[in-house]
Point group: C2
Chain length 418, copies 2
Amino acid sequence: MINYEPFLSRSAEKMKESAIRKMGGVAAQGRDIISFAPGYPAPELFAWQEFADITRTLLSGSDGAVLQYGPTRGYRPLLETITGLMAARGAVTSIDRLLVTTGSQQGLDLVARVLADPGDAILVELPTYTGAITAFRNTQAYMIGVRQDADGISLDDLDEVWKRQQQVGRRVRFLYVVPNFQNPTGLLISLAKRHALLEWADRRNVLIVEDDPYRDLYFSDAASESDVRPMRSDDASGRIIYLSSFSKTLAPGYRVAWIDAPAPLAAKFELAKQAADLCTGGLDQRVIHQACRRGVLDRQLPILRAHYQHKRDVMVEALRTSLGEILHWPAPRGGFFLWATLPGGLDADAMIGRAVANGVIYVAGEAFFVDDSGRDRVRLSFSAATPERITEGVARFATTVREELDAPRERPRPSVTA
Amino acid sequence: MINYEPFLSRSAEKMKESAIRKMGGVAAQGRDIISFAPGYPAPELFAWQEFADITRTLLSGSDGAVLQYGPTRGYRPLLETITGLMAARGAVTSIDRLLVTTGSQQGLDLVARVLADPGDAILVELPTYTGAITAFRNTQAYMIGVRQDADGISLDDLDEVWKRQQQVGRRVRFLYVVPNFQNPTGLLISLAKRHALLEWADRRNVLIVEDDPYRDLYFSDAASESDVRPMRSDDASGRIIYLSSFSKTLAPGYRVAWIDAPAPLAAKFELAKQAADLCTGGLDQRVIHQACRRGVLDRQLPILRAHYQHKRDVMVEALRTSLGEILHWPAPRGGFFLWATLPGGLDADAMIGRAVANGVIYVAGEAFFVDDSGRDRVRLSFSAATPERITEGVARFATTVREELDAPRERPRPSVTA
């Protein structure tokens, strides 16, 4: 057997399995496990009948292009549809700024490849989306964490961190933020802070990657359309690279998302995508386009908001009842996630075995931190499980936490500097 | 307006537009242009009715996983199907060696990311598939060209090139080859040479990336199933990373291909794919799986072989009639491409303007060479156009060549070292 280690690139040596994907593997083992791990949308809400109708028409064979290779930029009518979606979000855009991506994960990957070199600095929140960490890590750039306040990223810490990078001679290429119902914390950045971030980016000559998959999923008791206005919509100087997706609203099985960016950067993302996968699936793009054109997306949004808000209520109520005095979390105002701090310094990753034994899984918080902190945090997704399963899953989770608190503690794991 | 140049990664600075994709843009302009440029399969042969039937069942809504995120490795039943396809090609494989990719372009990208560092050497044929060049270039490795004989890559030159890389201190990470009906030349590597390549890889401790999208499309008058046996099937020592695809046989609009590789490498490709796009589309994978299971693929293959062989005949006959004395090409024994050398040292890229004016396009050969040669070559795809359009397109091409021969020559373009 050949030893393949010497053949690996430096980037491949450092690749790590995503904690979310790993939990997906546990959930797929078929035992009775209630999963609060991946941020899956609720499949019972997918517009099955409408997708079937749309697809029947598309597969008639009258248009060969439906199953052919397509342009790297994306299917032109879908790009035009996205122009309309961006306008509804307050952002004037044009085709030369847009690129359809194979899910937003590809968008993150293209951004990283086009903007970061080994040794550069990329600023991210503490915590931040683990899929972004994975994509950015491959560039061998340094990811530097910035603390959060209750209304999202701390501006003071942001500028401190930037200055420190200047001092050590690292170029800060971009700041990555998820302003709306952040994954994993569920936090919403205030409008005042969004404006301040734009000013900061101008002052410090930094780009901002604004990742916005959850913006349509605000909960009516805690947020509104005006709270989720993208920074992109107020970006007068061209600092924002904006990513959004149909995965949380229509369906992730269609791998369709988009980037909106200043035209010179969009042109580079297009070249990077040529190398990455030539083009996003032609049928998928047409189904998404038709679902927008026929009003499916517009009809879905209020249904989705009410549905996920209800599930959030169920999870919050169950957590309050079972762990209210000892577990703490910021109230989710939208999105898919509840982000909790475990009591007594419990180690969420070390607790996973017990959780699986009790029939529940979550994502241990440290996967979202680039500084090796967050070991007492858990991300609980309330999006996919049914209300009954959420209640049962929280009961199992509460049992797990209480058992862990009562168990003799092992030595803390040695700290590893990231 | 911000100058974005200082924000670009070194890799992004060097990204170039694919010559094939560029020609796709010309073809999409809607004028009466006959395209011999991209290697598009013939859409009239796609199994439209069967795809529609399969999709109706899948979109019933009874299985929510159809439109959900899926495992990065791929949809398990499809992986099992691919195990069977590999067995039919003479290769014993297993799930832990396989990864579904979002088209083979993604496979090339993952291979490059996992195996190549800046400054490494990657060996490729002269000429080679331009999509591979694009993917490999992003690693900032050196691509070193190896000459071809009539039966594919020259073993003598291969070892010479390898030795030269040793002398200059560059690690040779892998050799990339398309043994069956190579893109762009249409060449088939002889079985003896395949065995010799495996021995060479063992002797020199190099991996081989075997890219095999066209193997099923052999022409009965010139090749048979035994001629297209993958090197992978005789790889006793684990040197081969094998890529194949459903794009040329079922449809490229479903972005479904696969990698078969030694398990430790497959695990790394999986991690790289997590960062690249999380997973390949769930519906696409299920449609392809069902098309295999229901026998659609098996029924299609003889139809496709006869169809493309006929189109090859039409193109060869038309070229013989109109340019037979002055244009030269190796006879295509399968696949999609005819590779021709222009007379009188004509520059294929410089001739494009005249070709477009005459209503025909092709890909200029230099896009397939990593050493800036091949300017008098053209790749003509006979796969997508109808027989009538092939005949008409060749007439336009012949006019273009004759006009170009008669035109006053401009100075040759200055040579640029790659």
